[in-house]
């Protein structure tokens, strides 16, 4: 799932790069081959920059914070104590490199890359807290080790690298495009004004007067506004991802050490000040009260985030509207008109690919709730929560989508030329679009929920889980694309949605049942029966069949 996390982050970056190129360079009038070349350039440069930022982060942190290696010869007592703590952690845990800094505050953090991970302890923690409050020292050490075990470093630092690159590269692309357009306008205008006989200061004055400032603002203003909004959303999303990892790290500590009461006490006495909702959005850490609450009842960790739903819907709306080349309908229209079918087929493939990638994020969020529901064994609870999650997520996703579309229309001249009655009409159009989008997405999520939960029960290894996750996410994406674009937009027939759903469901169910005949234990190779209640261990060799499940999504 970490790989999927990486793919999602990188692809989002590509989406933004592509969209900017498609809209801004398209507006200048570059031909499709030139746009494709620019797209390839962005596609290759942005991931390179992200990877560079990600892989260099440890060096940068180490240098900036003057970190030093935590060695046994220097801190023998503490070192041996920490190694003793590691002994109590399952063998799959790969020990990080220990470092320390000279900060007197009592804190610790984890950083690194997928290959090498580091835990940094502050000097205050090592020489004071270790002796004076050993339980707190232990809580902190276990929490940081849990970050390592959950592979949070990968997720958090990749998310941070994407954010760091995006906030620089998107404005840079916009500035280059805008600068180039102004340069072309100035050149053209200068030429014509000089032909008209103007010279010296007059020539420049008339040249500058011909620059359509309003047009440039109306063209590039919305893109700039969107970059700002996207960066704010991504910033808050990154912080949400990192905050969620804090909860998972606490949950992992409980799983390891039966250390609940002491961890709770450490959190409660940590004395962090109360944070407002706004502060929480801008912080890496959740509030202490929330952490303590989740330590007592972790069910909230397995609920799909509505903030993610809104953000994903918003991004998808942005892509659809800002880049017509991402719309599958465009291929159909161009096909009818006999234009550019080859290039547009490529665009549509890219569009399908991007939607699948977005669906990975949605699917990942839902798989967390499947995990809880499948293993809780409460069918009534399962059905109720699944139905509620689908309804809430679809509505909020569609709300994000329609908000994006409304915001984009705010940047158009037509919007301001409209009469009040037109605005009212448009409001109803948007409401209808929101309802339709909710329907398409709810159908997709229903399909995902039915088969995601079925397949989780049939995943007996991490490899199985990844394969099933990918398969069902891609199938759900295709169902959405067929419903939304083929049934609704091309064939203009809502009635096709139920039969399409049924056909997909029957075929997938048949496939899953046929595969059931061949499901075997990955350790002993004996056949496993799929029962209504999942068997946690293989009845033949007692191998734990779901060891992959915790915190994987």
């Amino acid at each position: 799932m970490v790989t999927i996390g990486i793919v999602v982050s990188v692809t989002w970056t590509l989406v933004f790069g592509f969209t900017i190129i498609a809209t801004a360079f398209g507006a200048i009038g570059f031909s499709i081959p030139v746009r494709l070349l620019l797209f390839i350039l962005v596609v290759s440069v942005i991931p390179f920059l992200i990877y560079r930022s990600y892989s260099r982060a440890p060096q940068g942190i180490s240098k900036k914070m003057a970190l030093k290696r935590f060695e046994e010869s220097k801190f023998p007592e503490q070192y041996r104590y920490i190694q003793g703590l590691y002994e109590g952690i399952p063998s799959s845990f790969s020990r990080p490199t220990l470092m320390y800094n000279l900060e007197s505050e009592l804190s610790a953090f984890t950083f690194g890359t997928r290959k090498t991970q580091y835990i940094v302890l502050s000097a205050g923690l090592v020489v004071t807290e270790f002796y004076e409050n050993n339980d707190d020292f232990k809580s902190v050490m276990l929490h940081e080790s849990a970050h390592v075990s959950n592979k949070d470093v990968d997720k958090a630092y990749l998310a941070a690298s994407v954010m760091s690159v995006l906030k620089k590269i998107l404005p840079a692309i916009l500035a280059i495009v805008l600068g180039y357009q102004i340069y072309l306008m100035l050149g053209r205008s200068y030429y014509y004004e000089s032909l008209a006989g103007y010279e010296g200061a007059d020539l420049w004055r008339y040249t500058l007067m011909t620059i359509p400032v309003g047009q440039l603002i109306s063209l590039y203003g919305p893109i700039g506004l969107f970059i700002i909004i996207l960066c704010v959303i991504l910033y808050a999303l990154r912080n949400q991802v990192i905050q969620l990892r804090e909860f998972y790290a606490d949950a992992r500590v409980l799983e390891w050490g039966r250390f609940s009461a002491k961890l709770e006490r450490t959190l409660e006495t940590s004395g962090s000040k109360h944070q407002s909702k706004f502060e929480l959005l801008s912080n890496f850490h959740p509030s202490i009260s929330e952490r303590v609450h989740i330590l007592k009842d972790n069910s909230r960790l397995f609920v799909p985030s509505l903030w993610s739903a809104f953000s994903l819907g918003f991004l998808y709306g942005f892509l659809e509207v800002e880049s017509p080349y991402l719309s599958i309908i465009f291929l159909y229209e161009q096909y009818l008109a006999g234009n550019y079918v080859v290039y547009n087929a490529l665009d549509v493939l890219v569009a399908i690919f991007f939607f699948i990638i977005l669906m990975f994020a949605v699917s990942s969020s839902f798989h967390k709730s499947f995990l809880r529901d499948v293993f809780s064994g409460d069918k009534r609870h399962f059905l109720t929560t699944a139905a509620l999650n689908i309804a809430k997520f679809s509505m909020i996703f569609s709300l994000g989508w329609v908000t994006s579309i409304i915001l984009i229309s705010l940047g158009t001249q037509e919007f301001f030329n409209n009469l009040l009655s037109t605005w009212v009409d448009e409001l109803f159009t948007y409401l209808a679009a929101w309802a339709a989008q909710t329907l398409f997405f709810a159908t997709t999520l229903l399909f995902l929920s039915i088969f995601g939960a079925m397949l989780i029960k049939r995943s007996f290894s991490n490899k199985d889980a990844v394969r099933n996750f990918l398969g069902i996410s891609i199938l759900s994406s295709f169902l959405y694309i067929l419903n939304r674009f083929v049934a609704h937009q091309i064939l203009n027939n809502y009635l096709l949605i139920p039969p399409l759903f049924l056909i997909f469901t029957i075929l997938t169910y048949a496939f899953v049942r046929i595969r059931d005949e061949h499901r075997r234990c990955p350790v002993c190779g004996n056949r496993l029966l799929i029962l209504a209640e999942p068997q946690l261990a293989c009845p033949h060799c007692q191998n734990n069949l779901y060891s992959w499940a915790i915190y994987s999504f």
Binding site: A123, G124, V127, D136, E144, A160, G271, S272, F284
Partner: protein, 139 residues
């Protein structure tokens, strides 16, 4: 050169104070000394590097008061003010009393608690007298 001598003497005095009052911090002494020799000013800013860190536990209540980080700049200032400028002269009781008070106040402003600050100020005066040659004049 005088600056280097002051730093070196401040380091020696600080080491002795840390050894007496906070021996657990001794493994960190060389690190702090190295940082101090490079930039004595860095120690004056209170919690200059304090900020939220990604994948951290957060900051536990009651910041630790590491003596080493505080005693180094205080000794350095004391030596510059009371020893280097008065080479060959002895400090009288008033000067020692002032030195003690200044050290105490400075420690408080850098975040040390009162009890520790008092101990540190007393120790500093004692070490200054015995190690720097700033001998106390008989009353």
């Amino acid at each position: 050169m005088a600056e280097e001598n002051s730093k070196e003497l401040a380091s020696r005095i600080s080491f002795e104070i840390v050894k007496d009052l906070a021996p657990r911090e001794l493994p960190l002494f060389d690190d702090y000394k190295e940082k101090f020799m490079k930039n004595p000013g860095a120690f004056v800013e209170k919690d200059s590097e304090k900020r939220e860190k990604m994948l951290g536990f957060g900051v536990l209540d009651g910041a630790s008061q590491l003596l080493t980080a505080i005693v180094l700049p205080i000794s350095f200032n004391a030596i510059k003010k009371y020893v280097m400028k008065k080479t060959g002269e002895k400090l009288d009781n008033d000067q020692l009393s002032n030195l003690r008070k200044e050290a105490y106040d400075y420690a408080i402003t850098l975040g040390m608690n009162k009890a520790k600050a008092k101990l540190m100020a007393d120790a500093l005066v004692g070490k200054m007298v015995t190690m720097s040659g700033a001998r106390k004049v008989a009353p």
